[in-house]
Symmetry: C2
Subunit: 149 residues, 2 copies
């Protein structure tokens, strides 16, 4: 399960994606719109900034905005920055690998072998899906809703 930190990070990036090309957005505005605790969001945006995804401007009229086009920011990057695990087993994680202490021989572990496949399936989607794709899905869902009603 993703941490709230990761979830909030993605949501914040999506909302900044909608604002791409415009002036920076203030933390408090993002926090209010997405119902995210402001102080917590501060930390998260700071991490995303240190990772090179965001530009920030201090002082009055300051805020955050995306450095890159939302088409070029992929979910897998976000998960890695915020430490959200993709793999379901530590011994299968590419970026947060840890040996399973109890394991006798990782190389011949059938359980691990299955969860490598699971990771690859998840990873494929997360590596192909950008912030812009998320925005597009949202639009599609909204339009479908109107059609149905």
């Amino acid at each position: 399960m993703l941490s709230k930190k990761t979830r909030y990070a993605i949501k914040a990036l999506v909302i900044m994606g909608k604002n791409f090309g415009n002036e920076p957005m203030q933390i408090s505005r993002i926090a209010a719109e997405e119902h995210i605790p402001k102080k917590f969001l501060e930390q998260i945006l700071s991490d995303l900034r240190n990772a090179g995804l965001l530009y920030s401007k201090k002082g009055a009229g300051g805020g955050y905005k995306l450095i890159k086009d939302p088409k070029e920011i992929f979910l897998v990057q976000v998960l890695r920055i915020t430490g959200g695990p993709i793999a379901l087993l530590p011994c299968v994680s590419l970026n947060f690998y840890q040996r399973c202490e109890e394991c006798i021989d990782e190389g011949t572990c059938g359980v691990r072998d299955v969860f490598v496949d699971v990771r690859n399936a998840s990873l494929k989607i997360l590596a192909e899906t950008s912030i812009a794709d998320v925005m597009e899905r949202e639009n599609r869902l909204k339009n479908n809703f109107i059609e149905v009603v």
Copy 2:
């Protein structure tokens, strides 16, 4: 990430799978072979038993064994018994659903939409893979190793 409980559960089922058709295995033996803390394993096997996967026998000469053929026990069942989440977001989980508190409209959430796909991809593998498949993968890995050496 799966809990150790879930990991231990799968490993215990695999080792009992190898023993399928024979006399019950004692907790202490499984614990020793798989390097799992005995008392913790006790709880886990008890859960698997209550869920109908294991037969148990008390007293001298007692122990645990599979009720069903390992071909008929699928990983998804084990995860659900031990509470291991498959979905990466609570609002996407089929069996452990919880609303994301901050979410304004689940129905048009683009993030959720992506993670439904991720869940489906993982679920497909876990619902198709049985304990017997895990055993088979293990054998295949061992044989490949011999060939390579």
